[in-house]
């Protein structure tokens, strides 16, 4: 088990290093630089700007300097948000994004689980039809459309929730629902399918023959088996929530880290691009690692891998 974890940790570090390298050279190869603006700057001013941020060095030197700094926890200063360190910006905004992500994941798991179980339990009911409809539409509906629809219903029509910002628990409801909707649909579909499959299994027939009620069979015998596929889905859900948060944070004006992601790219804020990419990259790789470990712990058959 232990060497296994070590090997996984090593591959995590390697993945992050490759990610840093690719991102660094990609962003430097994109046309347009951080200080290109509507006004042509006097040459002396432009030269001073480049020097102060180390942009006058050859790209490979900038790269080694950056990696060295990053290993020491220094992500450099932001170009656009003048006077702020990328590390400070991440420290400020990451907890908000994390809270949003955890809430969305929790909501997705609870709602998806409930919906999946109910629709498997009442397979030929309206609820089951609704689940299928919900899954397909949530998977194909872009989040900005969903957000607009939710804002229209709950803020403009019913006037019971604030349309944006991150101030009270009430303002968190809509962004969390929006962000968690697609993962919830994924969970519901998976649970439903796997429950329906296990309901055909031999041990269920035995249980039925023993006279157990359908509810007990479902909860006690089938559901536990369906958790494994959900666990394997978790990595994908986290990825979904991270990429979804870029848009959701922007739309709901949430002061999280996802908002910086797009902002940094459009303004060619190199240190901010790197910092944010690395944090998200880490979250993604680490969550996959945790899923792997949990999987091995839950299912003895996988431990050899």
């Amino acid at each position: 088990m232990l060497p296994n974890i070590l090997r996984k940790l090593l591959s995590l570090l390697l993945t992050l290093f490759v990610l840093a390298t690719i991102t660094f050279f990609l962003m430097h190869s994109v046309p347009g630089g951080p200080f290109d603006s509507e006004r042509a700057l006097p040459a002396a001013v432009k030269a001073n700007m480049a020097t102060s941020f180390g942009l006058d060095l050859p790209v490979w030197k900038q790269y080694t300097k950056y990696i060295f700094g990053m290993l020491h926890g220094d992500f450099g200063p932001s170009y656009k948000y003048i006077g702020r360190d990328v590390r400070e910006m991440i420290c400020e905004s990451l907890p908000i994004s994390l809270l949003l992500g955890v809430l969305a994941l929790g909501w997705a798991l609870l709602f998806g689980l409930g919906l999946g179980v109910m629709s498997a339990y009442k397979r030929k009911s309206m609820l089951s039809a609704f689940t299928s409809f919900f899954s397909v539409s949530s998977l194909s509906l872009p989040s900005y459309l969903l957000a607009a629809a939710l804002v229209y219903i709950f803020c403009v029509r019913l006037d019971i929730l604030p349309p944006a910002q991150w101030e009270s628990w009430r303002s968190m409801i809509l962004p969390v629902i929006t962000l968690g909707m697609r993962p919830a649909a994924m969970v519901a579909r998976l649970i439903r399918a796997s429950l329906l499959e296990s309901l055909q299994a031999d041990y269920v027939r035995t249980a039925r023959a023993k006279g157990l009620s359908e509810a007990v069979i479902l909860w006690k015998h089938c559901l536990r088996n369906s958790f494994l596929p959900v666990l394997s889905l978790l990595g994908l859900l986290v990825a979904n929530i991270i990429t979804g948060s870029f848009v959701v944070e922007y739309i709901f004006a949430i002061p999280g880290m996802g908002k910086y992601f797009i902002d940094a790219v459009t303004s060619r804020d190199y240190p901010l691009i790197m910092g944010v990419t690395m944090v998200y990259g880490f979250a993604l790789v680490a969550s996959n690692l945790l899923v792997d470990l949990a999987y091995a712990w839950l299912d003895p058959r996988i431990r050899i891998v």
Binding site: A40, N48, R84, C155, V156, A253
Partner: protein, 520 residues
């Protein structure tokens, strides 16, 4: 008793509400170092917490050109001598910074020295290039600041020597980059992000807090020389998405949406009493690449201009743009309302190869140019290749073009679509763009007569004479040589609560909260 208490609370909430104004900034990447600030959001904040020698009118009657006149602010008066080349500003006395230190003329000298110093890395140094010796100082050709034409004669008198009359100079000293600084403090400006309330300023408001990503809060400055403003607290929220900002406004969580209304809603919003609109000094235009065929020939340029009906392209904008055929926008002396090249029906231009056009803009611009593409194809059988690029890429390309550092093999498109926003409300801000020394002239076109007309216009203080020079120069630019094709002037579109008085849609997109008050 309960009812009474509730009523009291309600009244308290109302009166409280009346002293707070909630304004939307689209972001909070605010540059607090005013020598270096030049983006819209930073300028809004700085215009309210600081002040310069001059400022603009608080209240405008629609249809007047009051905004053309800079008003005394920190300078209570000024005198001109030597054919308008020497300004002597008399500073207001008993003006105090928020830490109690008095305003002195030397603080302007310190500021301007810092603004011009290339070490400061300011993008705004060009604002002072009309001052004697200023440009050489920024370019590093002269390191001795005493050779630059600015001096404090005593604590309350500032003398500025210009190299030419530059009749628009009083506008430049209303720009945030020329505001005074406290040399004993400015080194701290950058470290103030986490304790913005320590920022020492002297404007009608002071910065009281800054929650990153959420909002900045401005509080009225009780010691402001002009008296504390009526609105005690201004909350500047950072909501980037127009639809969200609009929803917050409808939900009574914002009082002013200054710009960026959602395009899809404008037709509906425009009918409401809280919708306000006004002109802006911003012109969008097409520039021809005169270096190579087909637009090296003036006949082709003229024919192209005549083949386009601006009104056709306008349908995409829902009133946020108005057609113009003048390079100097309406409201400024030198504006020409008609007489330029008018569109002709039928086939006007014949070109053998398709032409390319590069631009950076949102979907609305995209739609507008697709309409253009279609009409060119149908009417004139001319193919138009649209090259939409992102903003940074576009300006990276332009600066390489201006400095002749384009990579070998990179083609210059036949047409560029650009916008020009006035730095100051004067025709020179526009006409200067196409002089041969200008770094914003991407056409490859030069004309000695044009240069000389613009130069003469900027060296005379006589308004009538200037307007005549500009009219002649504009004829060369648009009719004789057809170097550019002006398309639209931008309009302000804002939502402002109807109980707010004194809200001015300034054509320079400036916002002064000091003049705003709530209807009693």
């Amino acid at each position: 008793m309960k009812l009474f208490l509730l009523g009291f609370l309600f009244l308290a909430a109302c009166s409280n509400r009346r002293e707070i104004l909630r304004f939307n900034l689209s972001g909070d990447s605010i540059q607090l170092d005013w020598n270096r600030a030049n983006d819209t959001n930073s300028v809004v904040v700085l215009d309210n917490i600081m002040e310069g020698l001059t400022t603009y009118a608080d209240s405008l009657k629609t249809g007047t050109t009051d905004f053309l006149r800079p008003l005394p602010a920190l300078a209570s008066s000024w005198a001109l001598s030597e054919q308008g080349r020497v300004y002597r500003f008399n500073l207001r006395k008993h003006v105090y910074w928020t830490d109690g230190v008095e305003l002195k003329a030397q603080q302007f000298v310190d500021s301007w020295q810092r603004l011009l110093d290339p070490e400061t890395k300011s993008e705004n140094s060009y604002h002072l290039y009309d001052v004697e010796g200023a440009k050489a100082f920024t370019e590093g050709k002269n390191k001795d600041f005493s050779k630059v034409g600015i001096r404090a004669l005593d604590d309350y008198t500032l003398e500025v020597r210009l190299r030419r009359a530059a009749p628009y100079f009083l506008h430049l000293v209303a720009h945030v980059s020329t505001f005074p600084i406290r040399k004993d403090l400015f080194a701290n400006t950058l470290s103030l992000r986490n304790s913005p309330d320590r920022l020492v300023t002297l404007g009608p408001y002071r910065l009281s807090s800054w929650e990153h990503g959420r909002q900045l809060v401005l509080e009225a400055n009780k010691n402001y020389w002009g008296g504390a403003p009526a609105i005690k607290t201004v909350i500047c929220k950072a909501v980037p998405e127009p639809l969200t900002a609009e929803a917050l406004y409808e939900n009574n969580e914002l009082d002013i949406l200054p710009r960026d209304l959602p395009t899809s809603m404008i037709d509906r919003l425009a009918k409401r009493p809280d919708f306000q609109t006004g002109p802006r000094l911003s012109v969008s235009y097409l520039v021809f690449n005169t270096r190579k065929p087909p637009f090296d020939r003036v006949e082709n340029r003229r024919a192209f201009v005549r083949s386009i009906d601006r009104n056709l392209l306008l349908s995409a904008f829902h009133g946020s743009q108005r057609a113009t055929s003048s390079w100097i926008p309406p409201g400024l002396p030198g504006y020409q309302s008609e007489g330029e090249l008018q569109p002709l029906p039928g086939k006007v231009i014949s070109l053998s190869a398709p032409i390319s056009m590069r631009y950076s803009g949102n979907d609305t611009w995209n739609l507008s140019f697709q309409i253009l593409q279609k009409s060119l194809k149908e009417k004139n059988h001319v193919g138009l290749r649209l090259e939409q690029v992102d903003w940074k890429e576009f300006h990276g390309f332009l600066s390489a073009l201006a400095q002749h550092t384009l990579p070998a093999g990179e083609k210059i498109p036949d047409i560029l679509h650009m916008s020009w926003v006035a730095d100051y409300p004067d025709a020179h801000s526009f006409m200067n763009v196409f002089t041969s020394g200008s770094e914003s002239n991407y056409s490859g076109w030069k004309n000695a007569e044009y240069d000389s007309l613009v130069d003469r216009a900027v060296s005379t203080p006589d308004e009538g004479e200037r307007t005549r020079y500009y009219a002649q120069a504009q004829k060369i630019l648009l009719l004789q040589d057809a170097v550019i094709m002006p398309l639209f002037v931008t309009s302000h579109q804002a939502l402002v609560r109807t109980d707010l008085r004194g809200v001015v849609l300034n054509p320079l997109d400036k916002w002064y909260f000091r003049s705003i008050h709530l209807e009693k």
